[in-house]
Every structure is written in structure tokens, then in C-alpha cells.
């Protein structure tokens, strides 16, 4: 399977990307990329720095348009609904497609309020409901046991790994369908990284996860599908075991065997 035309995968795709290209100040940064992201599986985007994988990820929930001078072409459909186009509210898109960033970025609020933030701005007012969904999200993010007794403490007092799991809980609390993760473990130590990876595996039972990673072992460990980006192009997209054992493109092979990047 190659990047020319859509890569075919068996289960129903959650996100269908067609000819997606991103430009900064008129210069093309990524694309055109076409691929299908399978629901309730983990898809990893790998490639050397500057290959456009993060830019591609950010265009899946319209975070790129916050950057001045950025333009996106092509289509992305979420369960058939276009996410780009006139009359489509990016705010509504981001409620369905959540995001976790490279550096943990908790708000300078309490642990409870961090997780409740998305619910409150979404108009949930009932304190019982908020408390319940905060607990559920923290449990899903494997953080509940560690913070249940200090929900009102500042989130900034947590360790780096805990902060990142808090950010995951915060994203999960609004119950998105897709979770985008931009190198979520790159700033963490190996133990915290293992926690996050385990978590990603668990999350894929209920969520569609797209993760950008620098770390190929990580992609091999967590992802069902892997896309290899190089110089702004999608080089190869396939099942992770295929990518890592018998890639069809020589550049993919060079990259995963550590010959460059």
C-alpha cells in the first residue's frame, strides 16, 4: 500500500483524509496527504523532525488555523461529516476531536477544575454531573487513585507525568470521539512514559487515537497503524507490523532501521 491514493484498511474508517495540504505563508508544509484513520485503534505518525507530522496532526482538529498565515486545503471527514468548509464551526470540531500536547499544559487551577474546564465551558452546570465525569475521566487516565484526596490542590503541584495524565483526563472529560496526541511522552522519564503508553492502549478500546511520536519503539508498542512522513509527504501507511517488518518503501526502511532521522 502506498501514499498514492488512499491506503485501504479493513474496518470502517473514523477519519477520512483526502488531499490534505497545509501551507504557511503560501509555502507548502505538508501534503497532499490521503489516508484513513480507523476507529477505536491507535494510529502513529512517525518521521524525522520537521517532516510535517505534527502539522498534519494539528490540521485534524483545526488547531493550525490559530496560526497566522496558515492555510489548509483538501478534506477531512469525521464519520462522514466534513470538518473543513464554510459554515463549519471549528469549536464544534474540537469538541469531537480532542488533543493532548507535547508539553503538559495544565491550567493554573485545581486538579478538579482542570478536568471540569471543558465541561463548564460546554455548559454543564450540575455539580453532581461534573464531579462524576471528573472522576470518570481521571480514572480513565489512571490518575484517580493518586489525586482523589487532593482534587482541590493546584494542578501545578503534580509531577510531569501526572500533569500529562491530567491533560489526558481533561481531554477525555468532554468525551471526544478522537484523541490526537502530539508526542505526549517526549518530556517524560521512562516510567512515566510507560504509564502513558499503557494508558494509550487502554484508551483505544473506546477512542480513536492518533499519536505523533519521535520514538519508533513507542510507535511499535502502542500503534495498530503507522504512517511514515518525510519532507512533508506521507511516504507509507500500513499496519504497524507491516511497516516495521516489511516496509514497501526504501525510505521507510532506512528510517526505521536508523539510517537517517
Amino acid at each position: 500500500m502506498s501514499a498514492n491514493g488512499a491506503a485501504k484498511v479493513e474496518p470502517a474508517p473514523k477519519l477520512i483524509v483526502r488531499d490534505l495540504a497545509v501551507f504557511y505563508d503560501g509555502k507548502k508544509a505538508v501534503g497532499p496527504v490521503s489516508l484513513d484513520i480507523v476507529g477505536q485503534h491507535v494510529t502513529a505518525l512517525i518521521g524525522p523532525s520537521g517532516c510535517g507530522k505534527s502539522t498534519f496532526l494539528r490540521s485534524l482538529n483545526r488547531m493550525n488555523e490559530l496560526i497566522a498565515g496558515c492555510r489548509v486545503e483538501g478534506t477531512v471527514r469525521l464519520d462522514g461529516d466534513p470538518i473543513y468548509g464554510p459554515g463549519i464551526d471549528p469549536v464544534a470540531v474540537r469538541r469531537r476531536i480532542g488533543m493532548v500536547f507535547q508539553r503538559s499544559n495544565p491550567f493554573p487551577k485545581s486538579i478538579q477544575e482542570n478536568v471540569a474546564y471543558g465541561l463548564r465551558i460546554g455548559g454543564v452546570k450540575d455539580a453532581h454531573e461534573i464531579a462524576g465525569r471528573v472522576e470518570l475521566a481521571l480514572t480513565q487516565a489512571a490518575l484517580w487513585e493518586e489525586v482523589r484526596d487532593r482534587l482541590n490542590d493546584s494542578a501545578l503541584g503534580l509531577s510531569g507525568g501526572q500533569q500529562q495524565r491530567l491533560c489526558i483526563a481533561r481531554a477525555l472529560a468532554v468525551e471526544p470521539e478522537v484523541l490526537l496526541m502530539d508526542e505526549p511522552a517526549s518530556a517524560l522519564d521512562p516510567i512515566a512514559t510507560a504509564h502513558i503508553e499503557e494508558l494509550i492502549n487502554e484508551l483505544s478500546a473506546n477512542y480513536t487515537v492518533v499519536i505523533v511520536t519521535h520514538n519508533m519503539q513507542q510507535a511499535a508498542r502502542v500503534a495498530d497503524y503507522t504512517a511514515f512522513f518525510y519532507l512533508g509527504e506521507l511516504v507509507e501507511f500500513d499496519r504497524t507490523d507491516v511497516i516495521f517488518t516489511k516496509p514497501s518503501n526504501s525510505r521507510t526502511e532506512d528510517y526505521i532501521t536508523g539510517r537517517f532521522g
Binding site: 490559530l66 480532542g98 491550567f107 493554573p108 474546564y117 471543558g118 460546554g122 491533560c167
Partner: protein, 323 residues
Amino acid sequence: MTAAPGAVRDRAALAQTTASRTRRNSVADSVMAVASGAALLIVLSILAVILFDVIRNGLPRLTIGFLSEAPRNGMTEGGIFPAIIGMLEMVILMTLAGVPVGVATAIYLHEYASPVSPVTRAIRIAVANLAGVPSIVFGLFGLGFFVQFLGAGIDKVFFHGEKVFGQPALIWAALTMAVLTLPVVIVATEEALRAVPRELREASLALGATRFQTVLHVAVPQASPGILTGTILAVSRGAGEVAPILFTGAAYFLPQLPKHLSSQFMSPSYHVYVLSTQSPDVDATQPILYATVLVLLLLTFALNVAAVVVRSRMRRRYTGATA
């Protein structure tokens, strides 16, 4: 390996010039140290002389009574209570009028306006120029615009031409001062907004927040120490200025405290001006003058300290409990 004789000579010469250059540099260093030390000394001694003079002459007169009584006997006795109240009222009105406008302007400039649009650039230039306008010009503007245009207009429409708002008044002085301090608030707020980490805005937007919600719940709370500092500095500036209130509402002497927006008011800064230039008996009023200056200095100093304390407190709160 033997070096050529020429090379040896060159190296010796180089060593010599390096040594002399080092010597020259160390001389320059000591000259700079002495010069900057002297500059520091001059600045400190000016401040010390002013403070010493004001404290020595003002402190004996500075009693509880001075703060709680009205002036008596042609300002030669009594205190400055009405001036303190007048200033408080003016400063509160100024803050209510000026800070929301300033904060809103900064939010628009930083969060909504396109940085390259000519309108944005025009607003920025206007703000910078506003900050550079001499305060007496603001006073004249206040007289012309607020008192004679707005005030007289209100009188014509609501009071059948009777003079109520069409004369110098608390409200007009406060509004004039609000215009004067607007750039302070705008600049402080914009800087504070600029310092809000991009990651926090993105976190909010990625959770499905609108731009307005992000500004309201993330950017402004995060910027609030800066906004508060700007507000306090504006108040401190407003408390000390005379020129803007000179024609727009400050009174020489009032038997009563200001009760309406249309009342005139006394202010310590204007009181200093009056005591030092308009007093019929300079010797008798001089201790009062000194004490008033001391009160004004203490007030401004306290406000500036408050600004620093607020900033560091809030900064600690927003940058982590562990830090």
C-alpha cells in the same frame, strides 16, 4: 620544531600589545565603576535630600487630626481630610471609568485585532501618543470636551440650561484622569496578555472553548496580576497629578465633602499647589504644606509597593505551588 625568528618577534610584540590592551581595559573598567558609582550617589542623594526635607518639616505636623480635620483659618490650621476623601472619590471614579475601557482595548488589540491591519496600527500609535501628551493638555481637553461640551450639553437637555454639569466637577476630573491613565492600563494589560503561554490558550481551544471563552477563562485570569499592577500604577499616577484636575473639578477650598458627581472636590495634589502659590500667609501654611506633601508621597509610595506585592503574590499563585 624551531620557529622562524620573525615569528618569535611577532609573538613577543603580540604579547606586549595584549598586555597593554588588558591594562587599558582595566583602567576603563575602574573609570566606569567610579562613574556609575558617582551617578548612583547623585541620584540617591537627591532623593535623600527631598525625603529628609519633607520628613523633617512634615512629620511634626502629621497627626491623626491632620488626616481627620478640615482646613481652618484660611488654611493655616486644621488638616486635609476633605482633600483625602476628594482624592479617593476621584480615584475610584477614574478606575471605574478607565480600567474597563483600557482592559477592553488591550484585549481587542491583543486577542482579536489583526496585527497587520492599519486600524490596529493606528490604535497602537494613538495609545503611544496619548502616553506622551503633557498632562496640562489633558486638563484643557477635559475642560473643553467634558465640561464645556458634554456637561453643558447635559445641562441643556436635562436641566433647562441651569448650570449643573456644565462646570468643573468630580465626574469630569475623574474622566479626564481616566483618559490620562488609559495608556498605562492598556500597555500593562497588553504586556500581561502577551505573557500568557500559548500552550494554555491552545489547551483551552482544543477542549472546544470559543475564543471569547478562552480570553475570559484563561487569558484574562492569567493576565490579572499584570492588569492589577497597571491599575494600581494608574491610580498612583492619578493621585499625584494636578494639571488634569486643575480646570475640570478641583476646588481651592470646600466647606463640605463632595456629595454628587457634579460637586467640586479637594485633592492633596491640588492642595499642595494652592498652599504653595495661593496662600495669603506663606509662613503659617508652610508646615501644612510639608505635611501634605508627606501624605502624598506616602500614598504614592504605598500604592507602588502594593503594585509590587500584588504582582509577586499573584505570580506565585499562577506559576505553581511548588515553585
